[in-house]
């Protein structure tokens, strides 16, 4: 009897695992479909750029405070930690390079994307999910207005355009935070701080940062939009969707960062 129970439990576990895998594949396909539909129906958004600008205000401008404050603290911590290590090797003047490269190559795009997913991504998911729950998207369809071109596409491009700007601002403010700690607090030579940074940060580092921020912008925004569009039209459904937005975006950003960094280092 116990053997039969064990077999049943194993089979049930296998069945549940299979069910979850199929569900995740289905969601991946549905997400890809929404992505391609968004690209297909984007022309309308570019014909009416005020729709994108309006959404950039909500996704980009409204995320500025959390992103700039975080950048300032990240830059200061980097300078403290970096100085602590570099002074052991007598190269504390290189602190400016360390702060700048760490921010431009990695922390700028990754931390900004994680903060963006938490601030703007959840807001997008909740908004779209509630629009669906209150039949606003159905109403739009019944008016012969395509919700993908009117609601989804402007938010998608707003997220994609906002992310590189936010990453640039994050990196700049981070460097200023590092400067405050390294120069004003620790006493590193201000000329060495800036000249070493200028000499060692290459144009390719900045283009790599922009490529990463663009890819993260696409990933975070489409995940947020898909979770909202796919959310069951209930309070619980929208709540789960916002949670999934943060978790999926964070994993996607970290995974994509590794892949992109691998290609950039090889190149």
């Amino acid at each position: 009897m116990s053997k039969i129970n064990l077999v049943n439990k194993l089979l049930s576990g296998l069945h549940m695992t299979g069910h979850r895998v199929i569900e995740q594949i289905w969601r991946l396909g549905a997400g890809a479909r929404l992505f391609f539909l968004t690209l297909t129906y984007s022309a309308e958004s570019f014909r009416r750029p005020h729709l994108i600008v309006r959404e950039m205000y909500f996704t980009g401008v409204m995320s500025l405070i959390i992103i700039l404050v975080s950048a300032f603290f990240v830059g200061m911590v980097l300078a403290l930690q970096g100085y602590n290590t570099l002074q052991k090797y007598g190269s504390s003047e290189s602190i400016g390079v360390l702060v700048a490269l760490a921010l431009i190559r990695e922390l700028g795009p990754v931390v900004t994307a994680l903060l963006f997913a938490g601030r703007a991504g959840t807001a997008i998911t909740a908004e779209i999910g509630l629009m669906k729950a209150t039949e606003q998207l159905s109403a739009m369809e019944m008016m012969a207005v395509n919700p993908i071109s009117r609601v989804i596409a402007p938010r998608f491009w707003a997220g994609v355009f906002s992310m590189p700007i936010l990453v640039c601002l994050f990196s700049m403010v981070g460097v200023l935070g590092g400067h405050l700690v390294a120069v004003a607090q620790i006493g590193v030579d201000v000329g060495a701080f800036w000249s070493q940074m200028q000499a060692n940060v290459e144009f390719a580092d900045v283009t790599d940062m922009l490529i990463k921020s663009f890819v993260f912008g696409v990933a975070c925004t489409i995940i947020a939009l898909f979770e909202g569009y796919d959310a069951p039209p209930t309070a619980e459904g929208v709540s789960h969707a916002t949670t999934r937005t943060v978790v999926t975006s964070a994993l996607a950003v970290l995974g994509l960062d590794f892949i992109l960094t691998s290609f950039m280092i090889v190149a």
Binding site: E135, A139, M143
Partner: protein, 266 residues
């Protein structure tokens, strides 16, 4: 041009293995107010979604202006929908737009009218539902009845030939209910449109409908003028019209024997 603007022919629809409609036939003559009534979960709203082409039938067809809805491509369906206006159960107003912008929305999206003309048209539509003075308010500032009236103004923004109402009286106080009731009839007559009302409010619906279909168990259980149906001796219609607790629609959900269930742990 046929006399019927909408025709439902031998329509069946089901999902997840459950057949919601089984061979339904209905016609909606031009310029009439036709009601679809039935209990909760009888598939009344689904019929509106089938007419609007939001879902496809399993069998049979819905024809709007003589065109089979589910055979249209996306552009064809959007073209048909421009002839329709729909009032959703809770209004479905866009919460990020003001009352004025909600009513202006279909005009701005679907026409090239200049803004000055849109302004005049919006004020006319809002005046028709008695809310011209509320055009600067936002949806959260409106009562349920006001939201329903704004949604009605939006539904008639482009002077549709067909106006569909999904539970227009649900959750309204008696005054708002009377106002909506009057508006449905008067707007239908003024616009020369055809109105399709989905409701389970017998009193209000019978006041304004020219013809009524009763849907039960996936079929048309009865049909006729409100007067005919009030006199009907069909058990289902009698129970529904007079709001009786028990009858063909049982009070109790299907359950095992009451006594056995109570005694099973003794």
């Amino acid at each position: 041009m046929t006399n019927n603007i909408v025709e439902i022919d031998n329509l069946s629809f089901g999902y997840k293995g459950r057949l919601l409609h089984k061979g339904i036939n209905m016609v909606f003559p031009r310029r009439k107010v036709v009601a679809i009534m039935g209990g909760s979960g009888s598939g009344k709203t689904t019929l509106l979604r089938l007419i609007g082409g939001q879902i496809k039938p399993t069998k049979g067809e819905v024809r709007v202006e003589g065109q089979v809805v589910h055979q249209q491509d996306r552009d064809g369906i959007f073209k048909l929908r421009r002839e329709m206006g729909m009032l959703f159960q809770h209004g479905a107003l866009f919460t990020d737009l003001s009352v004025f912008d909600n009513v202006a929305f279909p005009m701005r999206e679907l026409t090239d009218l200049p803004e000055s003309m849109i302004r005049d048209l919006v004020l006319m539509k809002l005046n028709a539902v008695g809310l011209r003075g509320a055009h600067t308010l936002t949806p959260p500032e409106l009562s349920g009845g006001m939201a329903r009236r704004v949604a009605l103004a939006r539904a008639i923004a482009l002077d549709p030939n067909i106006i569909m109402y999904d539970e227009p009286f649900a959750g309204l106080d008696p005054i708002s209910m009377g106002v909506i009731c009057d508006l449905i009839r008067s707007l239908n007559d003024a616009l020369g449109a055809t109105s399709i009302i989905v409701s389970h409010d017998v009193k209000e619906t019978f006041l304004i409908a020219d013809y009524v279909y009763f849907v039960a168990n996936g079929e048309v259980a009865a049909e006729g003028t409100p007067h005919d149906l009030m006199q009907s001796t069909l058990p289902f219609v009698h129970q529904f019209v007079h709001g009786e607790k028990d009858g063909p629609v049982p009070f109790h959900y299907a359950a095992p024997d009451y006594q056995k269930e109570l005694m099973q742990n003794v």
